[in-house]
């Protein structure tokens, strides 16, 4: 184990995989000479040279498509989006091309590619730089979607994503790049896609969260434990494919569920989870499934407004108590 920041863990994952497979290249805005807008690719240009670590023009649709075309003929691109907000420019390529190529070609062409970058709000970046877009991406058959919350998960899942023969969307967070955690040092450390993780064990209520809000949920768990409520905190880590077995097992144990997500409530990953839980675990539930989401508004700039719009520890606390019928 080594104590690494999130950005170091992700950089190490790319480094190890690029050393292993010469078909892997990294392309994106500022990934080479600038060492990455968030320094995730630090040192990779020096180590692998300008053929494999390439600064792209500000043409997200263009270089996403370049990656897809290169993947169709056998390369394994890692395409960095400086943020998924810019990745919206590439959605035509990701949705219309990457997600469908294998299917439309009757299984002939595959697109082994990773699109990675930060998702969700950071701090006072305004509405165009603060969106959580996992609902858009998980909606599309043919895309695997990963959303990580710890440096170790980041490393193990990014390595698995790079090795996956399908297009994988890899969601990171600006606010977590500096976060430190213990990370296994072995180059063989992989976390398979589709395997969730229990971030905290409890028996009273299941909380499901992924990405950055896992840490808000953890903070809420601490306070709830002091009040005698033990939370079973499930981090699916991969949204597609989803570890439903882990979620259902937890629900059958606690009988109460709160879903915490940074994105908007309408037609979201959380609403999908709520649907699956009511459908499969109806008889196990002692309370309606509740959700803590971002308010259905563009993310405001001012600090106090932004804080109010995003899911907060307070709202998680309140909602967990509600499903436990412990509200005043």
């Amino acid at each position: 184990m080594a104590l690494l920041t999130f950005r170091e863990a992700l950089g190490q994952a790319m480094d190890e995989e690029m050393a292993r497979d010469p078909d892997i290249f990294l392309m994106g805005e500022e990934v080479a000479q600038y060492d990455g807008a968030y320094k995730v690719s630090k040192g990779l240009l020096q180590k692998y040279g300008p053929r494999r670590v390439i600064d792209a023009p500000i043409s997200e649709g263009g270089f996403a498509g370049l990656g897809i075309g290169a993947a169709m003929v056998g390369l394994k691109p890692i395409i960095e989006m400086m943020t998924w907000n810019f990745g919206i420019q590439a959605l035509d390529q990701i949705i219309n091309h990457a997600a469908k190529m294998h299917y439309m070609s009757g299984g002939q062409f595959s697109v082994p590619i990773v699109f990675r970058g930060p998702n969700g709000a950071a701090h006072m970046l305004g509405a165009q730089h603060s969106q959580s877009l996992e609902a858009v991406l998980t909606h599309i058959p043919g895309l695997k979607v990963v959303s990580v919350s710890t440096p170790a998960d980041g490393k193990g899942l990014l390595k698995a994503a790079i090795r996956d023969p399908n297009p994988v969307i890899f969601l990171e967070s600006e606010m977590m790049y500096g976060m430190k955690g213990e990370v296994p040092e072995s180059a063989d450390f992989l976390i398979p896609l589709g395997v969730g993780d229990r971030k905290r064990e409890g028996t009273h209520v299941t909380v499901i969260a992924w990405g950055r809000v896992v840490h808000k949920a953890l903070a809420a768990c601490e306070q709830l434990a002091a009040e005698g409520i033990e939370v079973d905190l499930i981090d699916p880590r991969t949204l597609v494919p989803l570890d439903e077995a882990l979620i259902f097992e937890s629900v059958r144990k606690t009988h109460r569920v709160v879903i915490v997500e940074e994105s908007w409530p309408f037609a979201s990953v959380g609403s999908q989870l709520a649907d699956r839980i009511q459908s499969v675990c109806f008889d196990d539930l002692d309370a309606p499934v509740e959700r803590v989401c971002q308010e259905p508004v563009p993310v405001p700039y001012a600090e106090h407004l932004e804080e109010r719009a995003l899911p907060s520890v307070e709202r998680i606390l309140h909602t967990v108590k509600k499903v436990c019928y412990r509200t005043e």
Binding site: M72, M101, Y103, S105
Partner: protein
């Protein structure tokens, strides 16, 4: 011009163009007879383009195209009956009946697909060119685009990257003058689409797409140079489609006189005149070839007709690559 070509090549060009003409006519009849449904974009009138381009390609080269690509797929090597079967949604189709008219694919023949989002194939083509550069391979990628694709932002992005990194991609505009029902002059600020290359300091030219004897040497010259010195190229091929945008389009946005003007320069008529003048074929021989080709495309349709439908389990197959 024609004197530079070996007789057998002139004959081969004619027979290939004739095949594509009769193939698409047969497809048109099948569609009209409701043998299949969906969209169906025919290449009739533009045969000299795919024949001239294909003659300049090797098996290692890649081709990617838009949605008007039945004949382009066949030219790259996909058996014509598999294209017909794909139209009929049969499991014997080149995309197992899961692509359809706009999505012919063949990994074996390096045909990277027909694509249905106008201009969306341009970045993919650059990716294929990038892979050749990355691996130091000598082959080129031909990216067919329609005239209307030249107003799509991602085509500009693609050309900029190809030009910046000197990737071996031929952007080939089949300018048939209409983006669906809209005359390109009504939506585009410049008269010649090849001028767009100036913005990227990219080599460019135009060629008469109704004459295969101009298309072939022109494209071959471009690709020979590209193989030695990788760099993208923008070629505007001036052509015309005789049929509507799709089979269901009556074409009310253009005059009969305009269509007739182009039909007088028909690629088949032009080459037939050359063959007769050089005494490579008599009128009777041309008619005999026509009968043979008509029988071949009927046979393709019969194969499509008699092929089995896929099992319903196919609905769920190929969403994911299984490891």
């Amino acid at each position: 011009m024609a004197q530079n070509f070996p007789p057998e090549q002139l004959v081969a060009f004619y027979k290939e163009m004739l095949f594509y003409r009769r193939f698409e006519e047969r497809v048109n009849i099948a569609y009209t007879n409701q043998k299949f449904s969906g969209f169906c974009h025919l290449h009739i009138g533009q045969e000299a383009v795919c024949v001239g381009v294909q003659a300049a390609l090797t098996a290692e080269d890649y081709v990617i195209a838009g949605y008007r690509s039945h004949t382009l797929a066949i030219a790259k090597g996909i058996p014509s009956r598999e294209v017909f079967a794909e139209l009929f949604g049969k499991v014997t189709g080149c995309s197992r009946g899961k692509g359809g008219s706009m999505h012919m694919f063949s990994k074996a023949h390096r045909f990277l697909g027909g694509h249905g989002i106008v201009g969306g194939q341009a970045p993919l083509a650059v990716g294929s060119g990038f892979a050749a550069w990355y691996r130091g391979e000598p082959h080129v990628t031909v990216c067919y685009l329609g005239d209307a694709a030249m107003n799509q932002g991602q085509v500009f992005e693609a050309m900029n990257m190809a030009a910046t990194w000197k990737l071996p991609v031929l952007f080939l505009i089949e300018n048939n003058r209409y983006g669906m029902g809209t005359d390109i002059r009504r939506t585009t600020s410049i008269d010649r689409l090849s001028k767009r290359a100036l913005a990227f300091d990219m080599a460019h030219s135009e060629v008469d797409g109704m004459d295969v004897l101009q298309v072939y040497p022109h494209v071959k010259g471009i690709l020979d140079k590209m193989r030695k010195e990788p760099a993208p190229y923008l070629l505007e091929v001036l052509t015309y489609r005789y049929k509507g945008h799709s089979v269901s389009d009556p074409g009310t946005y253009r005059t009969k006189e305009e269509v007739l003007t182009y039909q007088q320069q028909d690629p088949l008529l032009q080459l037939a005149a050359v063959l007769k003048k050089k005494k490579l074929a008599t009128e009777q021989e041309l008619e005999a070839w026509d009968e043979i080709v008509k029988a071949q495309v009927k046979e393709d349709e019969r194969f499509a007709d008699e092929s089995p439908l896929s099992d319903l389990s196919e609905v769920w197959q190929h969403v994911w690559v299984e490891e």
